[in-house]
Subunit: 374 residues, 2 copies
């Protein structure tokens, strides 16, 4: 089926995006004839196609149940469940990263930190984890052991334990070694009220460290790249940073970890949900030398590249510097920086101001820059 | 690697089981040379090999974390989390059933009821669900919509809602259409204290309806079988039954839903964890005419065939008949029956007493009778 036969989808996109399916924003991309009746890899990329799938297919078809407890929107990193005095955060993620082992981590470590980080983005300390394995027939037990050890170490490091789990096995050729789904329950810090609804024009945008290490670590293995200083994934738990900021009395409005789609996706999602515009100082965006070099080589823009140990915090402008100071005390946080601010103008649009007065729109990718990054 | 090279595994099995890998217990099975260094389909079958994988690989490698809350053993259907006054049940399951659509249900319905039933087995009303999809590139959106609608209907029927979710896409040939992982949080009914630790000699064993409908419904599609009266899956939520039994003041000691491995696996697991023996009256085991006929045709023993809407309850003997009466009031519960009792003799061994005084040991299957049944 050609794109022309699905006018409603086509027309819902501004002209610049009709040409996008898997590349960085570029007006000169050719128009691909994307099959709209089946799932595409691009639907998993954290970009516009994924948002469309979630908003147009998942949400309308799955929100007809009767909530059993006061629960928040399913579009945040974690849902909130109110239970007498306690407020619980609840989040689930499947991990399908390839390769399973990469510099600085593996699918097991990712499956722990990715989930506890989603809890942390709600201001929640992890309370318990559940994990479900889909194993492919023929998967080496030795690799499974290595992954489980890594999960145990990561859980210990994050101060949480696995309390329940499940194992399924699928026939050879019907899986890809191992997929892991990790679900977390967290206890939200008293007084924390974190979400896009609290974001206002004037708020500062703070990033907790340099960008793109996870994505480049994965790609360097996939593409067989050798760098002078090898790039390792930044994969780490983020609750300590969140806890420190909240303990210092910072009035945190919103948090988001920078996974699929990187900083660009996180900011676009927050801007859209909060109805604000954002202005970034392009020169303030922290990217390490090796990541910048790799991005140049691979034709990638680091603001779209996934991190697994970085967050963006939206805080009142007067608390931005203090937030940075706290974040800089954590390993990997040396480059924490104020990137820009939220504005009332151009709502839902994120703009980066370049060094020579050039502005560019930081849009959501349409689809997939790097498949199976997490 | 041959079995001979893994003496510790071989020696941990009684002689009768060394010959088992995927069939019903039969002393005349030939010895298969099972590869012990990689995952086998049999590891997913709910039998002895799966228990071995969990006890020897998963548990030792994953229980080094620090529990964030008072939590129970990861071997039950649900873990328990104590939180001020509330006791939460927490459970996760991946669903990889093939075919996706079958008489009486589909993967979506299964992914809801399977998880809420695990909560129910802890005496917990479902509070919130999380769901994670692993989609294969090329999967028809129409099928996805059909599955989501089914999940919505099932969640509504079970009185619960999805509050959070995740979507990942894997390349064509690296998945199998769709895998769904559903995680549930439930609120344990006040006063309910349900688990194998409460099971005692003298307790009665009650089953909530006839056996084997789910497994036979799946197999009938796979094998292209036509029955005079088609067998539909019994897939349904079990909390209403549990709630009714508890509300009637029955002192329920243990509950288990009869999924992978059927009644035989459920009873063997409980007997092993409780350290009791069990004696069943073979003639009391309820199997419908069409299921019995299909089992005969396929060479299956119905007590090993999966149900998705049946449970076994271990209750004090004097409350067994009352339990049956309550269960018989529910659709599908017409055949609820007392099957036998727990005994102090032959601990951990389940014996069925046949009509002519013949006893047989109802053992765990070694591996896989029917792969990908849920």
């Amino acid at each position: 089926m050609t794109a022309e036969k699905i006018p409603e989808s086509k027309n819902s996109l501004p002209p610049s995006e009709r040409s996008l399916a898997g590349g960085i924003w570029s007006p000169s991309c050719p128009v691909p004839s994307l099959d709209k009746t089946t799932i595409q890899l691009a639907h998993g990329g954290g970009g516009r196609l994924m948002q469309q799938l979630i908003r147009e297919v998942f949400l309308p078809l799955m929100t007809g149940g009767q909530p059993g407890a006061g629960s928040s929107s399913p579009l945040h990193d974690s849902a909130t469940i109110n239970l007498s005095q306690a407020r619980l955060a609840f989040t689930t993620d499947s991990y399908v990263v390839r390769p399973l082992f990469f510099p600085g981590g593996d699918i097991g470590r990712l499956a722990v930190y990715g989930t506890v980080n989603d809890l942390a983005m709600a201001g929640a300390r992890p309370l318990a984890l559940a994990t479900a394995f889909i194993l492919e027939e023929g998967f080496p037990l030795e690799d499974l052991r290595r992954i489980l050890l890594s999960m145990q170490e990561a859980a210990k490091n994050a101060g949480v334990a696995f309390v329940t789990g499940d194992t399924k096995v699928v026939d050879r050729g019907k899986g890809d070694g191992v997929f892991i789904t990790t679900t977390g329950i967290g206890l939200i810090r008293e007084g924390a009220e974190i979400g896009p609804h609290r974001v206002q024009p004037g708020d500062a945008i703070v990033v907790s460290g340099d960008l793109g290490r996870h994505g480049i670590a994965i790609l360097s293995v996939r593409e067989g790249l050798q760098f002078e200083s090898p790039v390792e994934s930044d994969c780490c738990p983020l609750f300590p940073q969140v806890d420190a900021i909240l303990a210092a009395g910072i009035n945190v409005h919103c948090l988001r970890d920078l996974t699929r789609g990187g900083l660009a996706s996180a900011l676009n999602e927050i801007a859209a949900d909060a109805g604000v515009g954002m202005e970034l100082d392009e020169a303030a965006i922290p990217v390490s030398e090796p990541v910048a070099a790799a991005c140049e080589l691979l034709g990638l823009d680091p603001i779209y590249v996934a991190c697994e140990g970085r967050l963006v915090a939206i805080v009142p402008e007067k608390e931005a510097e203090k937030t940075c100071e706290i974040l800089r005390q954590f390993p990997g946080g040396e480059a924490a920086a104020v990137l820009g601010r939220c504005v009332a103008e151009h709502p839902r649009i994120v703009i980066a101001k370049g060094p020579w007065g050039t502005d560019r729109v930081i849009d959501l990718l349409s689809g997939e820059q790097m498949p199976r990054i997490c």
